[in-house]
Symmetry: C2
Subunit: 482 residues, 2 copies
């Protein structure tokens, strides 16, 4: 490559900056950690102190590191301060019948199309999944499964082997869970629909966060229930004053809350807020369906405590699954139905008899071999870096007035764009360039969030994804300039 | 063994009779076929003509063969005329809220207990399933599944590979089925609950046969619907006059019918009756959910035509699965939602996203290799013989006033016992001797069938099962004699 002296120096500091960025992204330098001093790097690389200093300034400009006086450069918290947080809406009005236009089908049609950039569905890139070990577990399980009584129905509430493993690994959840407390389901949505059927009847009001997961709203509609969306802050979660007021005003059958790395806002509700939340719900005798599907995917040091563990008097129906963290297709979810156990066992039996044991046994074997914790450690780090890389690319390529969430876990970002943007139109224009995003409007029944979008960061970051974010930025800028 | 000349002769003809009975049971002599002549058997066995004749008379007494004048002995239709058919109730009254006591859980707890005689759940003995070939299909599928994109969600309406195979093998169903007409479900009950959700709202009336499958009734109750059970004959199926009258009298949202080898009565509705049934339903614009789960398990020469194929104007939602015929645990069902396709796709997506592809691909591979038809041929024959052996044992060991169905397919028998018998009490007494039966009361919401029981014949006949039927007969006789 022919380069002038000048461009050569440019090349050197950029090259070093890129290398350091990669190490930060890969988690080799962790948040808050001190980077090597200029001297150390000079000794290590042979590059001049000036070049190294230039590289650090470049990284500072990219929002990755920050200087501390007389102390050197430190890795910045990955997401905060990149862009301001989206605003949290305040006025929502009465409970309403849900009616969301059906982009859902096209979302799923896009999943298997390799030409489409996967910012749509909240799914992990399969290269992040422990395919070899799962395959090994499958082989182990198969040996027994296709012999003797293996192909016969398993127990309606789930295979004991899996329930045992789940009971064992929920030690960090904050309360004691026994095998018998657990019911296995066909993924997390199956658990949630069973909970809704157990706690409500058509016409009842169900409280959700806002914005929320499309499928909750569609399920509420399908079941003839009414959704009452409450103001939800991208940093603190559902607004407790609004909650208290709504419970005084309406007869509410229950809530569905997703307080751990909520989809789509990504917040982690503080322990203090959870206690207050449960105090309010308990006082009003309102049960809560806790969707903890992202609970294991924390970016910090520990998983959030489950609501079920925070207040013994609260009526909590806990739901989770292995779909977001281990094996989407196996469709293995689980729940702690609490005092609704008998009712839910019956509802489950009458609507699908039992879940396939084969799928449960594969996961049970995988867990038993201790693979899951190892996998999660790598996986969480990968997701954190993917979210961080996507967020930084957004900060780089999107208009300056873009607002962006700073998730504490999970793998989606929520963006509030210029008011001029109609996200359905943006969705269509992006779709034409093979970029898939979720328009904010499908995350509510209120008609809000028309200028918002959700971006999934489930796939390992690469140039193609970066290019996609740049393209999206261009489309948005063009739309604003019209 | 010490035997006198007399007992020796007894032994000889009984031994021959038993040997011939075994051959009939194993299907080596088929229904309607002529048995070897006295002379032929004499030449073959060296036994005296008298002994052989005595053996034939013994088989005639056992209800297995019949003489035709100047022509010899023929294998009798296996089930007819063993015992009279149970009566079909006439007065049912208004639609009602379902409330069935929950024996269901204990039924399922019994499935995996090897000490319990399996006359309860309608499940095949796993030795009847093609375990080796399924294992081979699983191995083939796994090779791809745990690579690349395999673990990602499949399409919400099912894996194309399986839908293609189903579309291919439904040529005998009576109408053209395309891949795109099919939705894959988590077993047949999942399909049925989706159908009920698509066609009805809480408070609506759903017509069923009576007696019927417990889970239908419980599902109807769970969904806040009302069940209207109609008189159903063990030979002809649902009473069409009652149907017409009910449709005039009540606003009915739909029917669930199981006209092919109905559970529990085992009848096959005639083609003529099906046409009249559909004419009535079409005239009243009432949709029918057709549960065809036993449709492939015919004892005659061909499968019954599906309702969906009988009348183009009728609104039919067809449901089936591989659970009764191939792989209960894999939980792979399928349906033809007809004009409710979009609604059901949405309901399905919002309640469980997608069915596991792994399970679908195993069955698709098995079907693609042409194993299914071969398996079904053997399997149908096995079931026919098991049903026949059980029925004959019942005729032998139960009181003479017992009435018994003569199923044309499937693998359950329905018995009407002496009026003195409370089948719940019988259930408990049998349970103490490790014999599991289904008390008739759980097959209705009307309080009828208290002296009826259902006996499943899913397992290969053996001395233990015969002993169980004899024990049951003894318990019943004791109860009647009290």
């Amino acid at each position: 490559m022919l380069q002038t002296a000048g461009s050569n120096r440019t090349y050197r500091y950029m090259s070093l900056a890129n290398e350091l960025e990669n190490k930060i992204s890969a988690g080799q330098y962790k948040v808050g950690e001190k980077l090597p001093s200029l001297r150390e790097l000079h000794a290590q690389t042979g590059l001049s102190i000036t070049t190294i200093n230039q590289a650090y300034i470049e990284l500072e400009n990219r929002g990755l590191i920050m200087p501390r006086e007389k102390s050197g450069f430190y890795v910045k918290p990955l997401l905060n301060d990149l862009l301001p947080l989206p605003s949290s809406h305040k006025r929502f009005g009465a409970p309403r019948k849900v009616s969301i236009n059906s982009l859902v089908e096209s979302i799923h049609a896009s999943i298997h199309d390799k030409d489409i950039l996967p910012f749509g569905a909240a799914l992990p890139g399969t290269e992040l999944l422990p395919l070899k070990q799962l395959n090994q577990s499958a082989k182990t399980v198969m040996g027994k499964y296709f012999k003797g009584d293996g192909l016969n129905y398993g127990p309606p509430d789930g295979a004991p082997e899996l329930k045992r493993q789940i009971a064992t690994r929920t030690i960090g959840y904050g309360h004691h869970i026994e095998e018998d407390d657990i019911i296995i389901t066909n993924g997390c949505m199956d658990a949630i629909q069973l909970c809704l059927r157990a706690i409500s009847s058509p016409g009842d009001v169900i409280i959700t966060e806002s914005p929320t997961f499309t499928c909750y709203l569609q399920l509420i509609e399908d079941m003839g229930l009414l959704a009452l969306e409450l103001p939800t802050s991208p940093s603190a979660g559902i607004d407790l004053v609004s909650l208290e007021n709504s419970l005084k005003k309406h007869k509410v059958a229950g809530c569905i809350l997703n307080h751990s790395f909520q989809n789509p806002l990504g917040f982690r509700m503080s322990e203090d807020s959870k206690m207050r939340l449960l105090e309010i719900l308990t006082r009003h005798k309102v049960p809560v369906i806790e969707d903890d599907i992202y609970g294991d995917l924390y970016f910090g040091n520990s998983r959030p405590a489950s609501l079920a563990s925070c207040n013994e008097k609260a009526t909590v129906l806990y739901c989770s699954s292995f779909s977001k963290s281990l094996a989407p297709d196996l469709r293995v979810g689980w729940m702690l139905p609490g005092k609704f156990k008998e009712k839910i066992k019956r509802l489950k039996f009458n609507s699908s008899i039992a879940c396939p044991k084969l799928n449960q046994l594969i996961i049970a074997d995988f867990l038993q071999n201790g693979h899951y914790e190892r996998h999660l450690r790598k996986y969480r780090n990968a997701m954190k870096n993917q979210v961080s890389n996507t967020a930084r690319a957004i900060a780089r390529y999107f208009p300056e007035d873009t607002k962006l969430t700073a998730p504490d876990g999970g793998y989606v970002l929520w963006l509030e764009l210029n008011k001029k943007i109609d996200s359905i139109e943006l969705y269509s224009m992006a779709r034409e360039e093979n970029i898939f995003i979720i328009p904010g409007g499908i995350c509510t029944s209120t008609g809000k969030y028309k200028n918002c979008i959700r971006i999934s960061c489930g796939n390992p970051w690469n140039d193609r994804l970066e290019h996609g974010i740049r393209q999206l930025g261009k489309i948005i800028k063009k739309m604003v300039a019209r």
